[in-house]
């Protein structure tokens, strides 16, 4: 049991923090997120040069062979400055699927290009008629000669319009399969739009669109999808922790400097107590996010353990994110609601993270299913 990062990991954190903090202050972020694709291509390339975009992939697939502890460090720094680059969406989620399911050839091609920053891969999974399920029903895969075609709608797909390659989930015989769709494929229509948190999403319409199965065959991949979603959830928990930390420090600074009634706001206990409660929420969620990452990284963790850890992280992230996000705005007052000031954007991103892959209530419902299967929760497995 060890919650600390080693010196190599800390060096990675410092390098990523340096890059992202130079790239983004609230002004620069606003400018970057105003224009498509909603992030800075140059920063994306710099992250690639640093090896960040290939962190979790095997070296033989063009990656760095690092673990999820490293992913967590990067995600935290992304959250700290609200870097709009789709790190979790592309590297952890879509890349994770390719790494788990893809053939050697697919891995070398897709992960190599993703790691180099030359190809943005995203997972097109959500469908307008359902929510937070590992399965697909709105897009159907049909065999067509030697290949496959996909038909249906995926939405919202993060960075769906900008993506060079889409990993698409689709109904196949016996379950949900995974397919690779090229951005220039025929019968592919992508309608991109801005999202409230400054990033981009798209409606992806497939109409007899040629697709290649991810992996050897178009078989049921529900279990792989669940696992990839769980790992992305844990990475999002760290992104959220980074965001919450900045939301809290920004709020604390504001309480010290903003004067009303002739004194700094920090003289009002009604406000400082609420800031103290934000700190409590932050430390609790940080602990569970770090723990969940250790569960993901532990070589003997079962898929069930990883899924449960992700649900635990998700539940705590949802609660803490809502608490800290809402209080950060309230303790600022009116300026917190403006787009010109930074803190509200943190609340917006925390709200997005909460709803991308499943919120707290959803996680609590899942955890409730197993509540009588154990006397108590073991934090430290034998």
């Amino acid at each position: 049991m060890d919650f600390t990062f080693d010196t190599e990991q800390q060096a990675l954190r410092e390098a990523v923090a340096g890059l992202l903090q130079r790239a983004y202050d609230p002004e620069k972020r606003r400018a970057v997120t105003k224009e498509d694709p909603g992030f800075d291509e140059k920063v994306w390339s710099q992250l690639a040069e640093m090896g960040v975009l290939g962190l979790p992939f095997a070296e033989s697939d063009g990656g760095m062979g690092a673990g999820h502890a490293e992913v967590a460090l990067v995600a935290t720094e992304v959250g700290r400055v609200l870097a709009p680059e789709p790190f979790v969406e592309s590297v952890v989620l879509a890349g994770g699927l390719v790494a788990d399911v893809g053939t050697a050839e697919q891995r070398a091609e897709l992960l190599g290009a993703l790691s180099e920053g030359t190809s943005l891969v995203v997972f097109a999974h959500a469908e307008p008629g359902s929510r937070w399920t590992p399965t697909a029903t709105g897009v159907t895969a049909t065999r067509s000669g030697d290949g496959w075609t996909l038909t249906g709608v995926k939405e919202p797909v993060p960075s769906g319009a900008r993506a060079d390659v889409l990993v698409v989930s689709a109904a196949v015989e016996g379950g949900t399969g995974l397919f690779v769709v090229r951005g220039d494929a025929t019968g592919l229509t992508r309608d991109g739009y801005r999202t409230h948190d400054g990033t981009r999403a798209a409606r992806v319409t497939l109409d007899g669109t040629p697709a290649q199965p991810l992996g050897d065959e178009a078989t049921d991949r529900t279990a792989a999808i669940e696992l990839a979603l769980a790992r992305a959830t844990v990475a999002y928990a760290h992104e959220a922790v980074g965001a919450m930390e900045t939301a809290l420090t920004t709020t604390s600074e504001y309480l010290k400097t903003r004067k009303q009634f002739g004194v700094p706001l920090s003289r009002f206990q009604a406000l400082t107590f609420r800031a103290a409660d934000m700190y409590v929420s932050l430390e609790l969620v940080r602990s569970i996010a770090l723990w969940a990452t250790m569960v993901v990284d532990a070589p003997d963790s079962t898929p069930e353990q990883v899924l449960a850890a992700a649900d635990r992280a998700r539940l705590q992230t949802s609660k803490a994110g809502r608490h800290i996000g809402k209080e950060a705005i309230q303790l600022h007052g009116g300026i917190g609601v403006t787009a010109e000031y930074s803190v509200g954007h943190y609340t917006s991103r925390l709200t997005a993270i909460d709803h991308l892959l499943g919120d707290g209530a959803w996680a609590a419902t899942r955890l409730a299913e197993t509540v009588d299967a154990h006397p108590y929760v073991e934090a430290l497995p034998a």
């Binding site: 049991m1 400082t272 602990s287 569960v295 539940l315 009588d372 929760v377 934090a379």
Partner: protein, 392 residues
């Protein structure tokens, strides 16, 4: 980053678990688990068994019975003790006055008090709070005036937990009423509870029990040698002591045990034609509580692994604040599961069919309101977090 316990720590945990569940008499552990009043004799018996095995005061300096354990091992020791429903070494002895004497007492005091304190040959009680000095402890007024070789103590203490069992009291007294800062004029005196002029009045609590007392001092003569540390430095020792008090105050193991019990009880009761544990809102409530507790436990583990310099980590305020809230949430859960049965609180065994756990649920819930008040109220903890950590 490493999830698993090392093989050494795993072996250590097994060793603790085995010891606590086999060496401490089952009857004592049953009393703790059932939230019954634990007798003085049981406390003493349990602590002496622990002390004999070197498990009563592991956090003390090695020469006085401490063990060279890592903070993680200390955490495991405490956690396993709570899970096994072992009465913990008396906090007034093991966590409060013992470490203070070890750190600030003179050699004679160490030899006189520390072995007896570890073995619970002396039962200590705490003379800190006063009717007009609660959270604002530094306002205390109990005075000690030097008269020859003695201090003469006059005044009143309150909330003195288990003072009725105590042999000795450690007492904050005002020795310099003229000090510019009120914190500067306080000293720490120790004296026997049977010293002439000491009287004790028990205070009945909402649960019908007597665990706290008022203690009155009228011209109590205390030999000068019973001053711990330096005159007028008592506030520093009190802060040191209260910092220790907050370590382990999260009581995660005890709360885990309550939740585990709650689930068993909920499986036995029928509600709406099915076991209460099958009710989705009950299941969700328990799942959320378990998650909060996991987050707290992991935070405690983070704190212990970062507090090797011996100073209380400011984040220990989080443990006190959240630990008390979750203990209270667990007691509330038990009351809600007991439902109407909880009304039979004071019924004798012969007069009721209501199981003991359901009878004790509400008294325990009411009693546990104390945990967010003692050890520095949760509002004091928020003040510490806002001031020390956030710089507000």
């Amino acid at each position: 980053m490493q999830l698993h316990l090392s093989p050494e720590d795993q072996a250590f945990r097994d060793e603790m678990r085995t010891f606590f569940t086999t060496k401490i008499p089952q009857a004592i552990r049953d009393d703790v688990a059932a939230h019954r009043e634990v007798s003085k004799e049981s406390y003493v018996q349990a602590q002496r068994i622990l002390n004999e095995a070197g498990l009563a005061v592991p956090h003390w300096p090695a020469e006085w019975g401490g063990r060279d354990w890592t903070p993680l091992q200390r955490h495991i020791w405490r956690e396993e003790m709570q899970l096994a429903a072992v009465p913990e070494p008396l906090a007034f002895n093991a966590s409060m006055i013992g470490p203070v004497i070890a750190a600030f007492g003179n050699q004679e005091q160490k030899e006189r008090f520390l072995p007896a304190t570890a073995n619970l040959d002396i039962w200590w009680c705490q003379g800190f709070s006063e009717p007009d000095a609660g959270s604002d402890l530094a306002s205390l007024r109990t005075a000690a005036v030097r008269d020859g070789d003695d201090w003469v103590v006059n005044g009143q203490k309150t909330w003195t937990t288990l003072g009725q069992y105590a042999d000795w009291i450690f007492c904050l007294v005002r020795t310099d009423p003229t000090a510019e800062k009120k914190q500067r004029g306080i000293s720490l005196l120790v004296f026997p509870m049977d010293t002439p002029g000491v009287t004790l009045r028990p205070i009945e609590l909402l649960d019908g029990g007597f665990e706290v007392n008022e203690v009155f001092f009228e011209d109590v003569r205390v030999p000068a040698e019973n001053l711990i540390g330096e005159e007028n430095r008592g506030w520093d020792y009190a802060k040191f002591l209260l910092g220790n008090e907050r370590v382990g105050i999260a009581r995660v193991g005890a709360t885990k045990r309550m939740i585990a019990d709650a689930k068993e009880h909920a499986a036995q009761l029928t509600s709406g034609g099915r076991p209460l544990i099958a009710d989705p809102s009950m299941r969700t409530r328990i799942a959320e509580l378990e998650n909060e507790l996991l987050a707290l436990e992991l935070t405690a583990l983070r704190v212990v692994s970062n507090s090797s310099d011996g100073k209380p980590n400011p984040a220990s305020s989080v443990l006190k604040l959240r630990g008390s809230e979750l203990q209270q949430a667990a007691t509330e859960l038990l009351v809600d599961i007991a439902g109407p049965l909880s009304l039979a609180s004071f019924a004798d065994d012969a007069d009721t069919d209501v199981p003991e756990w359901a009878r004790s649920a509400t008294p325990e819930y009411l009693n546990y309101r104390k945990v967010s008040i003692y050890g520095g109220s949760n509002e004091v903890q928020r003040t510490i977090i806002a001031g020390t950590i956030l710089g507000l």
